[in-house]
Amino acid sequence: MSKYRLDYLDELEAEAIYILREVAGQFEKPALLFSGGKDSITLVHLALKAFRPGKFPFPLVHIDTGHNFEETITYRDDMIARIGEKLIVGHVQDSINEGKVIEQKGKNASRNALQTVTLLDTIAKHGFDACIGGARRDEEKARAKERIFSVRDEFGQWDPKRQRPELWDIYNGKIHKGENVRVFPISNWTELDVWNYIRRENIPLPTIYFAHQRDCITRNGQLMAASPFLNMDEADVVARKNVRFRTVGDMTCTAAVESYAFEIDDIIDEIASSKISERGARMDDKVSEAAMEDRKKGGYF
């Protein structure tokens, strides 16, 4: 026996690579859900480490709400060109056109909730049996209880009471036809771990993660990017601010924080001394205390 211990980033990396390879080994048709956010960007980097010099044994899948930050789409397309892997895009606009979902109205209208339907349709259309996602257990207490291999029924629903025991590092990916598994390789990472890893590995990120000038309005005490997708009225005062975004989601529900963190070192300092947790900057979780649990049960990522 020795006192040798892996550094925490090496340990987290090795665990995530192990989980990605289990997906490759256990499933017929997996996919990696790519949002353009730092967590799924980290997953892509980990997949490079897991499978190069071979190709990924799965495509990347992006559910595009049509209300994305332009910078996210630019990043996505550049990245796909750089790594030479397959990308499948599911459009929320298509679901709206097909009448499967109805666009919300009013001031707080967002397509965020609609993307669940597009996601489930995309999964069904391509017959994906496993979807890899970048969720982490430190984000929220519903996630704190979710398995690394999380089985969903054919309606995409998560049942917290019927989770399979997950022992040692043995992941049971056996499912019936129509079911699928959501797999979370970075479950055990914290927000700060992801940032420290991105710094160590020099992983490029979309520019909106770094401080920049942007027109914003204040809604429900939070700064939102002014955009054509946000239903604004006279009461909304537009002001130019120095901001950055801590998560990358739909423009209608991703709040900005005022920041002068222009470099990754600044961001890490900012988070290390931060007073608000990451999902606290997502309006979609603010709806109710049990919001995340309810959305997960409904098939959200």
Binding site: Y4, E11, G54, A144, N172, N188
Partner: protein, 416 residues
């Protein structure tokens, strides 16, 4: 900096939630919006302070039914170490949850209520910690404020526990008198307990030494995936991808592939763009061999000088985790490392009453039952006895009708 995963064994009544809440609160691992929710809550202690147990509150589904369903994971860090807490419920009906949480833990905290001392559930928790072979144990004797911080009470409980530890086979045990409610000896050493000069719980967690087995004799690499790019320039590339589960491999080590038994020599170890000379337990790597032999997922690469057992009739401890009882007439699946094959439970040798540690010989094997069985597998498994090498001695049983994980197996040895 490294990571320590630990489990807390105890029930709500022992102040387990308060203890975890206190660890998170005093080590400043709570963020502002969570703190806001905490202060906004109506739940307060008798003396008007915040009820820290709220921090470990569960899901809506749990609150509605007033129960704890499952293992929740909590994350915090100090300057010295990162911590992952597996918070599992402690009542007997949640034995399977505790087994699940314990399977990955490097340390267990066993909570004892100072007013009650060593009770039935203490025996149960200690047995499970010993069964799953969690390397380190901390016994926190909680609610010391309720017994006037009495050294005598503490000493009595320690003496009682030592007898239990000897009985269940726990060696490395540390005892700390605490009050989670008042914060005594959780993060900071307490002035209220002047007679205790040891570390606080957090100080202990920061310093406790966690070792890993890096001897080449136990080198094990379950193959997860074969990397074969089959491009023009990488036509002959054949890498075996997996995570070293125990021990260490070096370039030029002589290795054997099981179950086939073919031998070869490690020619190269890859970690993406790096080529390390050795691969240690815990590392996810891609290994190349000198000879071109047939290897696929489910095989295991081991050091030729220290081979595991290879058998299809195996004695094992079984923890049953399903509401449907074990049916010896059924064919189940067993998943060991990256291999999933059919199996049957051929014999039930005995069950253990985990409250009293007595052996039972009744026939049925129900939810939360633990006991010794003999399993017959469709192909031989290359395994180590769990007590020798945890990483290669654990397996799960899957019900092929429901695909649900229904049992945890701790493999002990092949039956001649």
């Amino acid at each position: 900096m490294d990571i320590l995963k630990f489990i807390t064994a105890g029930s709500v009544d022992d102040g387990k939630s308060t203890l975890i809440g206190r660890l998170l609160y005093d080590s400043e691992a709570i963020l502002a919006d969570q703190l806001e929710a905490l202060h906004a809550s109506n739940r307060k202690n008798d003396d008007g302070t915040i009820d820290l147990a709220i921090l470990t509150d569960g899901l809506k589904a749990e609150r509605e039914q007033g129960i704890t369903i499952d293992v929740a994971y909590k994350y915090f860090e100090t300057d010295k170490r990162k911590f992952i807490i597996a918070d599992a419920p402690g009542h007997i009906q949640y034995t399977r949850n505790m087994v699940t949480g314990a399977s990955n833990a490097g340390l267990a905290i066993i909570l004892i209520d100072a007013r009650k001392g060593v009770i039935e559930q203490t025996t149960r928790h200690s047995f499970l910690v010993s069964l799953l072979q969690i390397p380190k144990v901390v016994v926190c004797i909680n609610k010391m404020d309720m017994v006037n911080y009495s050294e005598d009470v503490f000493n009595h409980i320690v003496a009682d526990y030592k007898k239990l530890a000897a009985k269940v086979g726990l060696n490395e045990v540390t005892y700390i008198p605490v009050s989670a409610l008042k914060g005594d000896n959780i993060v900071y050493q307490s002035a209220n307990i002047g007679w205790y000069t040891g570390d606080s719980l957090l100080q202990h967690l920061e310093q406790v030494e966690i070792t890993i087995d890096d001897s080449s004799a136990h080198a094990r690499l379950p193959v997860q995936w074969v990397v074969r790019p089959q491009t023009d320039e990488l036509h002959d590339y054949r890498g075996y991808a997996g995570r070293v589960s125990s021990g260490a491999f070096k370039v030029n080590d002589k290795v054997t592939v099981l179950p086939s038994g073919f031998s070869s020599v490690i020619s190269k170890i890859e970690l993406y763009d790096k080529q390390p000379e050795e691969a240690l337990a815990g590392m996810s790597v891609t290994v190349h061999l000198q000879d071109n032999i047939d290897i696929s997922r489910g095989d295991i690469i081991v050091n030729s000088a220290g081979q595991p057992q290879l058998s299809s009739v195996i004695e094992a401890d079984l923890c049953w985790m399903d509401t449907r009882p074990l049916d010896p007439s059924l064919t189940y699946l067993v998943q060991h490392n990256t291999k999933t094959i059919r199996c049957k439970i051929r014999e039930i040798l005995y069950k253990v009453n985990i409250n009293t540690l007595d052996k039972d010989f009744d026939e049925d094997f129900k939810l939360n039952d633990i006991g010794r069985i003999v399993i017959k597998t469709a192909e031989p498994l290359a395994f180590d006895a769990y007590e020798v090498n945890k990483a290669n001695g654990g397996a799960i049983i899957i019900d092929s009708r429901t695909n649900v994980t229904v049992g945890a197996l701790l493999l002990r040895g092949s039956v001649a």
